[in-house]
Symmetry: C2
Subunit: 344 residues, 2 copies
DNA sequence: CGCGAAAATGAAAACGTTTACATTTTTATT
DNA sequence: AATAAAAATGTAAACGTTTTCATTTTCGCG
């Protein structure tokens, strides 16, 4: 029994070259710089490649010129409406650049992230996109040592420590709270995850709280509720809150939480927006369909995903101008039916 | 200005070898077969690698032995609760095997799938997982020529044309309908996507219809409604249906559709399950929280994802026993609050 | 101590491309 | 038609590992 050798009998560039009656170099050029080969030769090569079922081996090229044509994407999770839209858009746009996507998730565990990034680096990805700004120092150092461009996606800050493309989560949080305040609400509860490694949630929460303060409201601890991005837990937390001492309005850390809150209201027979107003952040799939239709801050996940893909391809081109140092993608307030002035 | 050369100054295996005072071969062995090197040497090497910040280049290894340590996963989309759980579990389990995931989506377009698989093959993935059984012949031929193992995931059939791991979607459809029939419903509407390339949905639909037939019900065309896996569209379709001529029960092609149906009922003030019973298929995140809590057939996405990851790693080991020819993962009927006997 | 076997290591040849450079062919210009 | 310049192609040397085979070191045991 021999070793695994040439993938069974799959032909290489030299077989194609032989069949087309040219040198391997010419075949290579047909794929990489087609304009540099005579149309006639080109078609002979194409025909030979087709006949042989040739599929080039990018690993060989990668070895030679350090470009793999793949980029890495590291997200906390995709098992959640939060990121799936972003990832989907990113993946699709990447394909238009003939670039493949290596993806990995770490469940908000930054230790895992280190291992993941190392693994991506071993595969010589051309660039990597990470969600948010909170990262292990080791992660960042490795990336730097290997001089692999990094792009932080999803969140945006004026003073971001990394090139980034995303929405201003602080402002989004402000916006959500401001809407409620403008309607006249004074007793507002905030349901946000507190996870320290989640800077997006942190920014939103700070933004919302800042808005409340600005309006002269000092929220007691009982109005600041810790809640993960999980619909079941959100529903449970909201039911506890509502059956004890319902506020007149609730700001949810994202639409998943808002959805849980809405279900809690239904379960308890609390009218929305009659008795309680609810705002979300994100505008996920389904937020426009839920009853009552959810008022929320739309974070343009697809736009971010697409721009990020374009940017990362540009960055990985070895381009010295690591282009989009920072790009803020605007969000939008979407008013629907889950908010109204407080009962007097 | 030179070409891109050795990634800036990132050290290679020979630098590590020099620093540790051993040959490159020994360094290589430290990573691949640590037991074959003396503990003392091993630690010297580890130390040198650490000091230099060495990250091995798998492309080089791939070139040599045809194993990349990456597998491909091709799904229609991840922008949807349907697959995100599956993909997430698959990705996580793969990491436990120190294997990376190349992912791509084709939006139910089998032409795209061909291009995607070619692109994955160029990166020399060790195996590839595809969703379902419907694939372009070219796709399958390429895979065969390159002798790359394929695993079909998500759906299961006794006579599947490919090794597969998944749930029996036909039986799941039967189960959903049977529950309604057992409750005494005779006027049932079916909301399913009809997309020809979606064998999972097709199987479910056939299963549900078969169950109805078996009960002596011959559903008129007006009860067979075409509906994509999209919550907004499902809601719209359901509103049209309910406001015209409401059936006593609805089988939804999956939980996303069911969710839309439930929202439609709320929007119209149709009591569930009082006036209309609704069953879903899938048991997605949120189906247990929605009001009324959705009765559904739980398809164990995470279990499938995990098993599929294990299986594909086993298959890519060059193992001649392409192990799990077919593996059926059982589903489970989850009865909650959206179903009841018909009003008399 | 010495011997043979086993374990650890080293030397060097792959692996399948890409690309700088050399060479040949084509084209444009006179 | 001759020639210079441009375009097309070929030659061969990388790229950074892994692995076979050969060599050296270590070990067990008489």
């Amino acid at each position: 029994m021999r070793r695994s050798r040439s993938r069974k009998g799959a032909p290489g560039i030299v077989e194609v070259a032989r069949r087309a009656g040219v040198s391997p170099a010419t075949v290579s050029r047909c794929f990489n710089t087609p304009d540099s080969v005579k149309p006639d030769t080109r078609s002979r090569v194409a025909q030979a490649a087709e006949a042989l079922g040739y599929i080039r081996n990018r690993a060989a090229g990668t070895l030679h010129n350090q470009m793999s044509g793949s980029v890495g994407l590291v997200v906390p999770t995709i098992d959640n409406a939060i990121f799936s839209e972003l990832v989907d858009a990113f993946a699709k746009q990447l394909r238009t650049h003939d670039c493949t996507l290596l993806i990995a998730t770490h469940d908000y565990d930054l230790e895992q992230e280190v291992a993941i990034v190392r693994s991506l680096l071993e595969r010589r990805i051309d660039a990597v996109a990470l969600v948010g700004f909170e990262h292990n120092a080791v992660t960042l150092r490795m990336l730097d040592t290997q001089s692999v461009p990094v792009l932080s996606i999803w969140n945006y800050r004026d003073n971001a420590p990394l090139p980034c493309i995303g929405a201003n989560n602080f402002a989004a949080g402000e916006k959500a709270a401001d809407h409620l305040l403008a309607l006249g609400h004074r007793d507002i509860a905030f349901l946000f995850p507190s996870d320290g490694s989640n800077d997006r949630a942190g920014d939103r929460r700070h933004g919302a709280l800042r808005a409340a303060e600005r309006a002269g409201i000092n929220s007691p601890a009982s109005r600041l509720i810790d809640c993960p991005y999980d619909i079941d837990q959100a529903k449970a937390r909201a039911m506890a809150l509502l059956s004890r001492d319902a506020p007149s309005a609730i700001v949810a850390g994202n639409d998943v939480i808002a959805q849980g809150v809405l279900y809690a209201c239904q379960a308890l027979g609390v009218p929305v927006p009659g008795r309680v107003s609810v705002v979300g952040i994100g505008d996920f799939r389904g937020s426009a369909a839920i009853e009552p239709r959810l008022s929320t801050v739309r974070l343009p996940a697809r736009t971010i995903g697409r721009s990020a893909a374009d940017a990362i391809v540009a960055m990985s081109g070895g381009n010295p101008f690591r282009l989009p140092s920072r790009q803020e993608v605007p969000f939008e307030w979407i008013e629907r039916d889950s908010t109204a002035p407080p009962r007097v």
